[in-house]
């Protein structure tokens, strides 16, 4: 049975080829982690754990500490989420519970367009429009009303932590809103009908039937948004001012892990300098991966059955 063997051979070749391509893909992920660890060896050896808590970033004297960037990353992301999460929840509720289907589809489409705008375009817009607006309107107003808090003190400049945080919020909203909408839509209709049958108003239905059911998915969505905010590079690098200092005021310039890598990597002169920048990347990767794994598991659980294995 010659032809039969030829057939099996075809199957085997096909299987082997696709297996090989999958292996290449997986090895890229593994290789990525290995490459970052190997290339930060110099800095890992020189600074050890002190790298993560060191506050100096001094390329001239080759003293490197990551704390200012970790601080900048955390604060800018926290600020972004503080603004983005309530907005995203509002959008998701509007799209899944309020708007008629035809409107919901159109609004959902606009949310996706917002997510599609390249980050360098967001950055350009923020340099020339958002930053000056925050400096001239928002920062004076915040200083006048909440100026007793250290958060809102200091001179008003257009490149600041505040500008980076607000821009990140705008960029993160479409992601969080889209996932939350999916999560809310996956809530069984019977849950809503049961609440309505008990006499709940529409808002009470959302509060007692939809929100608790989708809670873990919403938390996952927020973590996905956090992952985006932590890793966003070019838009932040364009507006945060890139100064490696820890300062309580949101009006001051700052820097994030991603923004300092973007700014200094191509110009890093010594191998220890380069190695320290790679280690910053390693920190970013570790935090990003951890967040993503937890977040995707949560979202998967919340939307399961609706999109199969879709995250």
């Amino acid at each position: 049975m010659g032809t039969f063997h030829v057939r099996l051979l075809g199957d085997r070749i096909f299987n082997l080829t696709t297996l090989l391509l999958t292996l290449v893909g997986l090895s890229i992920l593994v290789g990525l982690v290995i490459a970052l660890v190997l290339n930060s060896a110099l800095s890992l050896k020189a600074f050890g754990w002190g790298f993560v808590v060191g506050t100096d970033w001094d390329p001239v004297n080759e003293r490197f500490g990551a704390l200012p960037f970790i601080y900048g990353t955390l604060v800018s992301s926290a600020l972004a989420l503080t603004i983005a999460v309530p907005l995203s929840l509002g959008v998701a509720m509007c799209l899944s519970e309020m708007a008629p289907v035809w409107l919901s589809r159109r609004l959902g489409f606009m949310v996706e367009l917002l997510a599609a705008i390249p980050s360098v375009v967001y950055g350009l817009w923020a340099i020339f429009v958002l930053g000056p607006w925050l400096r001239d309107r928002v920062e004076p107003a915040l200083g006048a009303t909440l100026g007793f808090l250290p958060l809102f003190q200091g001179p008003h400049v257009s490149v600041s932590m505040l500008c980076a945080g607000v821009l990140l919020a705008i960029m993160v909203v479409p992601y969080v809103a889209a996932v939350c909408t999916d999560v809310f839509r996956a809530v069984p209709q019977a849950q809503r009908e049961a609440a309505l049958a008990l006499g709940a108003t529409r808002w009470e239905m959302v509060r007692i039937a939809v929100l608790p059911y989708g809670l873990s998915g919403v938390i996952g969505a927020i973590m996905l948004g956090l992952g985006r905010a932590l890793g966003e590079t070019i838009a932040v690098a364009m507006v945060i001012g890139n100064s490696p200092r820890i300062s309580a005021s949101l009006f001051e310039p700052s820097a994030t892990l991603a923004s300092v890598i973007a700014n200094e990597f191509a110009e890093a002169t010594s191998s220890l300098y380069l190695s320290s920048l790679v280690e910053l990347g390693l920190v970013l990767l570790a935090v990003g991966l951890l967040l993503n794994i937890v977040a995707r598991t949560l979202v998967l659980r919340a939307t399961q059955g609706r999109f199969g294995s879709e995250g």
Partner: protein, 289 residues
């Protein structure tokens, strides 16, 4: 129930008002969230269009201080980077997607699928560092190839997951019908199942292209950028995104004007891809993000 009817009616009225109020808040949130889209598009059109002319597409960047010039090299560079990255990213992605769909439930496939999901969460700047260490360093300098590798790594997991999802949407009966006719397994997969899912897979590929077309961070120290004309694989190459970035943070008004023009072109390309795909597959496809 001893509550007075009047009090009860007031309470119901209050609950209804509260409900309407909260629903109004969600509408307000949606308006606020979408506002930046319209503001940004308006600025792009007004600021970008006034600096956009034929020279922008056909001329090289002008030296500092000289007026005029264009981004011809960056437009070609972006196309070359996308083409090269797609060559690698799409073939790897579709191959892996075919494997994942065929071996659903096997332990290795589960690990690989998880790996693809994890890869989607790797910040793009970190992918840039990776490409720097495996391509730029061994080759001794920034290059088109390094930029394309970085973009391909970003592209691959997106294409893999979309391919898998689309293949799984194809009804099992179709596959069984082909097998019953004596068509070999691999030909069934390629000529029946994959062909049925081709539209959805193409959607995923185009969206992945739209995504990498807008990437700046992973190109900064891989493709680097180039003020001169170059299409060589082994030398640095200009791209629209990096050019817009460089011009945007420059102190020269003429360059800043060009940055707006570049941003308009870039956004038009990305949104056209996105809009085109959405319009073609209205309501059907649900692709990986």
């Amino acid at each position: 129930m001893t509550a007075k009817p009047a009090a009860q009616a007031r309470r119901i009225r209050w609950r209804k008002t509260k409900s309407d109020l909260m629903m109004g808040v969600t509408v307000l949130a949606t308006v606020i969230a979408l506002l930046p889209l319209f503001i940004i598009l308006a600025y792009l059109v007004t600021k970008g269009a006034s600096s956009l002319n034929l020279a922008f597409f056909t001329h090289m960047p002008a030296p500092v201080g000289e007026k005029g010039g264009g981004m011809a090299n960056a437009i070609v560079g972006t196309l070359e980077l996308i083409g090269l990255a797609s060559l690698m990213g799409v073939s790897l992605g579709i191959g892996a997607g075919l494997y994942l769909a065929a071996h659903r439930g096997s332990r290795f496939a589960t690990v690989a699928r998880f790996g693809a999901d994890v890869m989607m969460g790797v910040p793009s700047i970190v992918v840039g560092i990776f490409a720097y260490t495996v391509v730029v360093r061994p080759m001794g300098g920034f290059s088109t190839l390094a930029g394309a590798v970085a973009l391909a790594v970003i592209m691959m997991p997106l294409v893999t997951r979309t391919t898998e999802e689309m293949l799984l949407l194809v009804p099992q009966e179709l596959r069984e019908a082909a097998l019953a006719l004596g068509v070999p397994d691999w030909r069934t997969t390629l000529w029946v199942v994959a062909r049925t899912a081709a539209g959805g897979i193409a959607t995923g590929v185009i969206l992945a292209i739209a995504r990498i077309a807008g990437e700046t961070a992973p190109l900064l120290f891989t493709a680097f950028g180039n003020r001169f004309w170059s299409t060589s694989l082994t030398s640095p190459i200009a791209s629209l995104t990096v050019q817009v970035y460089t011009y945007a943070i420059s102190p020269f008004p003429d360059w800043q004007r060009q940055a707006w023009a570049g941003a308009l072109v870039l956004t038009t390309i990305v949104l056209a891809l996105e809009l085109g795909v959405r319009w073609l597959t209205r309501g059907s496809a649900h692709v990986a993000r």
